[in-house]
């Protein structure tokens, strides 16, 4: 028969394959992100740091609370970083092992960033989508409230909440969450406002889809790109805020520690020739922040291609 040769069959099969494997927007975005060398390198470095906080404790000779009395007597000499004494990063001013303390602090700071951003993600998205979709007077009222809260500098709010409710781990997360969702809700609301008058929403409504389902199935997925980008930019911001407060001595309290607290300790003792107490936490801190900036930028370029 006509067109039944082997070559034709193969060609037909191949075109059919191509038609089936369409390129979704997400696949495109993923490809763009993978092509971004800076972002990929930073992702690898960040993965190494996360891995270090997980398997690092297995190699620790000292835990983070035990005081090494010999090293404490001569922090500058015996307390210096060395492999023989088991203090890979040296000891802190009280003779505690800095290697374990840095791991603990890095874990805390990463957790603070993730949880703070996650709270912003849930509360901010929910609030913003509700305000934007309902619109009208409710929207005005809800956004007025956000504007008022945004008028108070975030760091001061966190300090105020920590002073009023007492300093604790939970309160720190609550305080960070209390300020982080505000700008997220504004962004989500703005996006929802532009989305809700588009034709496909009208089509869904005409087809008889419920309001709640429209929000969940049609608006939310279209917000995802913006939300992901903003969340990734929020993580380093949360870490910065927490470190700032811990540096002032108003954040996390002993025996817990964060990178900001360790940097503060190191900065206090650097005049006595124990520079490693500043250098190691500072190194981890700056690396985490810079890699997160690049990853956030990469995500923005990947998910928001018109912004270039």
């Amino acid at each position: 028969m006509f067109g039944r040769s082997e070559k034709h069959m193969a060609l037909a099969e191949r075109t059919a394959e191509q038609a089936i494997h369409g390129r979704s927007l997400w696949k495109d975005a993923g490809d763009r992100f993978v092509r971004n060398k800076a972002a990929m390198v930073c992702l690898a470095i960040l993965a190494c740091i996360v891995l270090f906080t997980i398997i690092g404790p297995l190699f620790a000779v000292w835990d983070n609370e035990t005081i090494d009395w010999t090293a404490m007597g001569d922090v500058r000499g015996l307390g210096a970083p060395s492999v023989e004494s088991g203090h890979f990063f040296g000891v802190d001013d009280l003779g505690r092992d800095l290697y374990s303390r840095v791991i603990q602090a890095t874990t805390t700071s990463l957790l603070v960033g993730l949880i703070g951003a996650a709270m912003a993600l849930f509360v901010g998205t929910l609030y913003g989508i509700t305000a934007g979709y309902l619109g009208g007077r409710i929207d005005g009222l809800m956004m007025r409230f956000v504007d008022i809260l945004l008028a108070i500098p975030a760091t001061l709010v966190i300090i105020l909440l920590l002073v009023v409710a007492g300093r604790s781990f939970i309160m720190l997360f609550v305080a960070l969450g209390a300020v982080s969702w505000l700008s997220m809700s504004r962004i989500v609301r703005g996006q929802t406002l532009t989305l809700k008058n588009r034709e496909f929403i009208e089509a869904a409504r005409a087809a008889g889809v419920g309001e709640f389902t429209i929000m969940l199935r049609h608006i939310l997925p279209n917000l995802l790109g913006v939300v992901i980008v903003y969340t990734s930019l929020l993580v380093p911001e949360m870490i910065l805020a927490e470190s700032f407060i811990s540096f002032l001595g108003l954040g996390i309290s002993e025996p817990y520690t964060s990178l900001g607290a360790l940097i503060a300790e190191g900065a206090g003792t650097m005049a006595y020739g124990t520079i490693w107490q500043l250098a190691f936490p500072l190194f981890f801190y700056v690396t985490i922040i810079i890699t997160m900036f690049f990853i956030g930028d990469g995500l923005r370029d990947a998910l928001d291609p018109k912004d270039r």
């Binding site: 008022i148 108070i152 001061l156 105020l160 009023v164 540096f247 108003l250 900036f293």
Partner: protein, 307 residues
């Protein structure tokens, strides 16, 4: 424009009152007052002290007195910890200092950041661009509380060029490190915002038209591209102001400049609620005012906005 200004001013009033109310309530529901101590005071003495500070009145009465004192007399009440000082005294002593180096940092960061961003955009994809971008990202990862120790380590401990702290009436050797520490991070942000904004403007149609007409490149950049380039920078001024305010808290502590930040953290640690409340309201109020000015400047700068 006038109508818009008046409307915005009018909208700022309820925001301000709600800010005061929220901070007031938050602090007054907190457990443990400023007079709670290890050794409890005799009830009669405590009652006398509370009467002296008006803490025995019902909550709404306390709030009304507080609010009307602020509005009509600009009086934030007495400090709970320092018997002989008002919150006003503490603010009057510390605020001018914080304002001085805060304003200087703002100028330095804007001048360097904007020039760096413009240079990077004009010389797009050359070594100047790469240098400016790397500098911007590095600067952003070095917030004030990181820059402070690094600067002290280099200029005070190693080189011995600059004093490690103090104010000395604002003499310039005492100003350099606070200003650098405070301005570095948002200098980076301003540089990056300016760069991307200028790139976008330079790629727009009307710039291509201007170039096609044969206008000199210098003229194109300074006369045509600069103003729209600065619009996103202007809207970033609000966050910059907040950054300077909170950053000054660190600078005051770390460089012992004697500004308002020292009093603020001191009051937070010793639960001196009236100082804490006063400074929060002052900073919140200033932020509202600066946001208002930013919006007005934006409306004045942007020909597309008509109110």
């Amino acid at each position: 424009m006038l109508g818009y200004t008046l409307r915005r001013l009018f909208a700022a009033v309820p925001t301000m009152i709600l800010l005061i109310a929220a901070s007031f309530v938050l602090i007054h529901v907190a457990p443990g007052g400023p007079f709670t101590s290890e050794r409890p005071l005799p009830p009669q003495v405590l009652a006398n002290i509370e009467a002296r500070y008006g803490l025995d009145q019902p909550m709404w009465k306390q709030f009304w007195d507080y609010l009307s004192n602020i509005v009509f007399h600009f009086d934030f009440g007495p400090s709970f910890k320092f018997k002989d000082r008002d919150v006003n005294d503490i603010i009057a002593q510390g605020f001018p200092i914080s304002l001085t180096y805060g304003f200087l940092s703002f100028l330095v960061a804007s001048a360097i950041g904007i020039s760096l961003g413009i240079a990077a955009a004009i010389r797009h994809n050359t070594w100047i661009d790469y240098f400016a971008v790397s500098l911007g990202i590095a600067a952003q990862a070095l917030p004030n509380f990181i820059m402070g120790p690094i600067l002290i380590l280099i200029f005070t401990l190693q080189l011995g060029w600059l004093p490690g702290g103090g104010w000395n009436g604002g003499a310039w050797p005492y100003l350099i490190m606070p200003v650098i520490a405070l301005s570095t991070s948002y200098m980076g942000s301003i540089a990056r915002i300016t760069r991307s904004s200028m790139l976008e403007v330079l790629n727009s149609n009307y710039i291509r038209t201007a170039r096609a007409k044969g206008i000199a490149e210098r003229h194109v950049i300074w006369k045509h591209a600069l103003k729209p380039t600065l619009l996103p920078v202007i809207s970033y001024l609000g966050p910059v102001f907040v950054y300077v305010l909170t950053g000054s808290v660190f600078v005051d502590i770390y460089f012992s400049t004697g500004g308002l930040g020292q009093a603020y953290v001191g009051s937070a640690l010793s639960r001196d609620y009236s100082v804490l409340l006063g400074v929060t309201i002052l900073y919140g109020g200033l932020t509202i005012v600066v946001n208002l000015i930013t919006d007005l400047a934006y409306a004045w700068f942007d020909p597309k906005i008509r109110y």
